[in-house]
Symmetry: C2
Subunit: 117 residues, 2 copies
C-alpha cells in the first residue's frame, strides 16, 4: 500500500482506538451534535472533548459545519466503510493462504457438513 494510504490507516485506526472517541462517533453518526452538547455527555473538560472531535475530524470520520456560534459535527459513514474495506483486504490475504493450502493438499471430497452456510 502507498505511504499516504498507510498514513490514512494510521489516523483512522488511531482515532478508533479510544472509547470516548468511538462513543462520540456513534453519536454523530446518529445525528448532528454541537461540540458543547457532546462535551456535556462525558466526565471530562470541554477542551478534552474538543480534542477528541479534532482527532476524529483529522481522520475524516466526522465533518463540522458552522451554524451561528455552534460547530455541528456529523459522522461520515464513507470513512467507516473505507476502514471496513481495508479489513476485507486482510481477509483476502488470508483466503489466499487457504487457497494455497487447498492446492497443496490436492482435490478432496466436497464438504457436505456445512452446505447451508
Amino acid at each position: 500500500m502507498s505511504d499516504v494510504g498507510e498514513d490514512r490507516a494510521d489516523a483512522l485506526f488511531h482515532a478508533l482506538a479510544d472509547r470516548t472517541r468511538r462513543d462520540i462517533l456513534r453519536r454523530v453518526l446518529a445525528g448532528e451534535h454541537s461540540v458543547t452538547t457532546l462535551a456535556t455527555k462525558y466526565d471530562m473538560s470541554f477542551a478534552a472533548v474538543q480534542k477528541h472531535v479534532t482527532v476524529l475530524q483529522r481522520a475524516g470520520l466526522l465533518t463540522k459545519r458552522r451554524s451561528g456560534r455552534e460547530q455541528l459535527a456529523t459522522g461520515d459513514v464513507e470513512a467507516i466503510r473505507s476502514v471496513a474495506s481495508m479489513l476485507t483486504e486482510y481477509e483476502t490475504v488470508w483466503r489466499g493462504r487457504v487457497a494455497r493450502i487447498d492446492q497443496l493438499l490436492g482435490p478432496r471430497q466436497p464438504d457436505t457438513t456445512s452446505e447451508g452456510d
Copy 2:
C-alpha cells in the same frame, strides 16, 4: 456496549493503528512465520518486532505455536471479522439516522436513478 467489549475494541484498534503491526499481520495471515523471520523484514531490532507481535497476540489478531526453538505466528481471520462487524454496527447507527430523516420528510417518489445498485 459492555466494558469488556470496549476493552477488546481498544486492544484491536490500537493493535491495528501501527503500520509495522499491520504489515506483520498481513504476513501472518498469508502464512506461518517465526518471530525471527518476521524481524528480518524490518529495519528495527528483534526486540521491537517481538513487542509488536506480542501486541497483536494480546489483541487476539494472531496466535503463536511453538515448534522446536521457533515460535510460529499465524493470523486469526476471526479477529479481523469481529472488527469488521463492529464497524457494521456503526454503519447501522448511521442508517438509523437516515431512516429518521426519511420519516421526517415523509413519503416521496421512489428513486429511479440508482435502481441497479
